[in-house]
């Protein structure tokens, strides 16, 4: 018998030949001990690989991978898929009634309102990091914004921290903290770094149905957004200011 094809030798080592063909190869190998040693080494390699790496199959799968496998496309990814049109339509609808003159509302208030209407309707993934990991959340966002951040709490006003996420801003990363009350109403606090280094008083902008109180405080610009009466939102904004400037 001539030397079998390499493909047959591999298939022999991998146990993928039918019995008849395997027997032919066996017979040939009997007369070629060097080839037999080589093929037995191939089989041994395969056993070694299984012995070395099969234990991975028994390891618990890290939670981050289970999350990644189950995560529906993020809102922003979805937006990219549909083109920005989808976001434009949604935001346009939610901000309906805004007069052209209102478009001069500062970028801070407007961007905060847009981020508010994009993320507050999220049911499953309103935030990237939940309030149960608040220390990690603050540490992470502080690192990304390059300045120490604090999360104010509004329990006295009936709102609890849901968590936060990182957003792209015009000049770099922006943090968004989200709060929710028992009735399911949501507030967001939008925090960006500002190079202007000045302080301002509270200012108010109405973006459609969303009210926004915003202010600059040294290196940071804040915008608190919510769909609620102006007086109620102001009380929360004042509480935020006091907590952030003790």
């Amino acid at each position: 018998m001539n030397r079998p094809l390499d493909a047959d030798l591999h298939a022999w080592a991998d146990g993928r030949l039918d019995a008849a063909r395997a027997a032919e190869i066996d017979a040939w190998l009997a007369g070629h001990p060097e080839e037999e040693a080589r093929l037995l080494d191939w089989k041994r390699q395969k056993e070694l690989l299984h012995a070395a790496f099969d234990p991975v199959l028994e390891e618990p799968v890290p939670a981050r991978l289970v999350d990644a496998a189950r995560r529906p496309p993020r809102v922003w990814r979805l937006a990219a898929a549909f083109g920005w049109l989808a976001i434009g339509v949604v935001v346009g609808y939610l901000l309906r009634g805004v007069k052209p003159g209102d478009a001069t509302a500062p970028a801070l208030a407007r961007n905060a309102a847009i981020a508010h209407v994009v993320y507050t309707p999220e049911v499953r993934h309103p935030v990237e990091v939940g309030a149960d990991q608040e220390a990690h959340l603050v540490q992470w966002l502080s690192k990304r914004l390059g300045t120490p951040l604090k999360t104010p709490h509004f329990a006295a006003q009936g709102f609890d921290l849901v968590g936060g996420r990182l957003l792209p801003g015009e000049r770099g990363p922006v943090a968004q903290f989200m709060y929710q009350d028992r009735g399911g109403r949501r507030l967001t606090l939008y925090v960006k770094t500002d190079s202007d280094n000045r302080d301002t008083a509270f200012r108010y902008a109405q973006e459609g149905k969303i009210g926004v109180f915003y202010w600059l405080d040294g290196r940071l610009g804040y915008a608190l957004s919510g769909e609620m009466p102006r007086a109620e939102l102001l009380a929360i904004a004042e509480s935020a200011y006091r907590q952030l400037n003790p």
Binding site: H50, A52, V56
Partner: protein, 166 residues
């Protein structure tokens, strides 16, 4: 699309052997999942999801290796120290040798070897996953197995090293 979670253990095993590092492997799996979900519309219903995931993983890994090679010189200082292999079993030394030998194989040979042996893919399926002809699978498999024999010293006395023709 069907649930990706069921495929995670095997993807992790393959990635671990491919990268030789627990953290790199899980990062690669995560990148693969994210890309798969972002491009789920490209998956052809009826085709094997796990094969498609392996194709994505392979392309990501090859690109990473290429990018790494390109930046290797300047990034040398920043490379994390090679994490110690888990040395729990009595044959830990052998496992470490095996890991080192695998990493010494060119990526394309390593992928073919691991898909055929560890993941038990047929030669035809391996060809589809890697988007190469079956003949190329066979030749890469030959080279990988012979190189691994030399690296593991398993075949030194049995036969002189074959001159491998590309």
């Amino acid at each position: 699309m069907e649930d990706l979670v069921a495929h995670l253990p095997r993807l992790r095993r393959y990635a671990r052997a491919l990268t030789g590092d627990r953290h790199l492997a899980d990062d690669l799996v995560q990148d693969t999942l994210e890309r798969a979900l972002a491009r789920s519309s490209l998956w052809q219903r009826g085709s094997r999801l796990d094969s498609w995931l392996l194709t994505i993983m392979h392309n990501l890994f090859v690109n990473q290796v290429r990018a790494h090679a390109r930046h290797a010189t300047e990034a040398l200082d920043e490379l994390p120290a090679e994490p110690a292999q888990r040395a729990m079993q009595t044959d830990a030394l052998e496992v470490r040798d095996l890991n080192g030998a695998l990493l010494a194989l060119p990526v394309e040979q390593r992928a073919v070897l691991l898909l055929v042996t560890l993941d038990e893919r047929s030669y035809e399926e391996t060809a589809r996953i890697l988007d190469i002809p079956v003949g190329t699978v066979m030749s890469r498999l030959s080279r990988a197995r012979e190189r691994l024999r030399q690296l593991l010293d398993g075949g030194v006395q049995a036969a002189p090293a074959l001159k491998v023709v590309k």
